[in-house]
Point group: C2
Chain length 218, copies 2
């Protein structure tokens, strides 16, 4: 009898519905101004029910973070798939990251939120586990692509690939973070547009990895 299975599916569906409602509310009003009652209303459920599916408000927001991360990962994979050379795949991932932050600022915000506050979660819970797994998955993906680039000769580096992946990831995250900061708060003193900044970074990064002999002449 497929009752068990159906129940399972319905449960998953509910969880998704709640996340939809939560996105709607959180993205509209911002996390701190949104209440669990707001989310419950939007989901057409009672507040108590939310807590059957998510342990806390933070965990609910973490669910949204996860969605964002999946989306981002998909964009990375799609972008990388359009190229053959490893170095081009890396470049494509970089651009995809930028595009992700631009196209899904609310998901990006969720990612930044946790980035800046996990350090505060002294707590236990599987929350953190999931969070770190997500991060780890992206790192592995980048490492894989770097290896590909080294194998096909398009990337040349003195560094260990696993470390290099962390460095690249950290670098680009930081650069995009600062770009989104200045984009949001248009400082008087800044005369360049954000994309120029990113483009400069990509060029700079390119110099670090590229084997000129294998460079695509386009």
């Amino acid at each position: 009898m497929g009752v068990q299975e159906r129940r399972e599916r319905e449960k998953e569906q509910r969880k998704n519905d709640i996340l939809d409602a939560a996105e709607q509310v959180f993205f509209e009003k911002g996390l701190s101004l949104s209440t669990m009652d707001d989310v419950a209303d939007a989901a057409e459920l009672s507040k108590g029910t939310l807590y059957l599916y998510f342990k806390s408000k933070q965990e609910l927001y973490l669910g949204i973070h996860q969605r964002g991360f999946v989306k981002m990962h998909e964009m990375f994979a799609a972008a990388a798939a359009l190229h053959n050379l490893g170095v081009d795949k890396i470049r494509a991932i970089g651009h995809a990251y930028y595009e992700f932050a631009k196209q899904y600022p609310d998901y990006y915000k969720a990612i930044m939120y946790f980035e800046g506050s996990v350090l505060d979660f002294t707590s236990d819970s599987e929350m953190i586990e999931i969070y770190h797994q997500d991060g780890h998955q992206v790192m592995e993906f980048v490492q894989k692509v770097l290896h590909k680039g080294i194998d096909d000769g398009s990337i040349v580096t003195d560094f260990q690939v696993d470390r290099l992946a962390f460095i690249l990831w950290g670098q680009i995250s930081g650069v995009i973070q600062i770009i989104s900061k200045i984009s949001q708060h248009p400082e008087k003193s800044i005369k360049f547009n954000p994309y120029e900044l990113f483009d400069d970074y990509m060029q700079l990064m390119g110099k670090l990895l590229v084997n000129p002999d294998k460079e695509d002449k386009s």
Copy 2:
């Protein structure tokens, strides 16, 4: 009569005492587990008084953020002052950043906290103003040092200095952020120590800026 002035000084002193108390409490228990009553107790003042000096809990924490930023800036200046060549100053600043995060993890945490959540402050208030001024000051410092390096010939770059400063700042922030993340959550799969990672990054950065003819042969 110096009454006005004395009052002014005493007010400043109180503000400092409150910040001392707040640091003690926040650093011990973490921001979210600390209450304003805790801080009031530690400061031997009533809760109401805290609100005469700081508009909100967040603003109090921002006061701590500011202290951290000042400390960091001091470390940068001190580190840079030990060298003559611009490129060496830049390297020294990089190392100082790393040292700051290591020596003052709580201040660093405060900085990261706001980094990840300013995007949420739709609010007005001078808070954000101060916050951005702090950031701006560091950027200017980096720019100044980069210019120095270009002038003395130790730094060579195709990029505009103002943009380059942002890129470097973003990069290094991101790299240190990821390092402090993995330091805190020792992943099973990570076999290198954090400092190696940072050192790799510094080497990498060096390659981007350095004019080999002027390199210090030590």
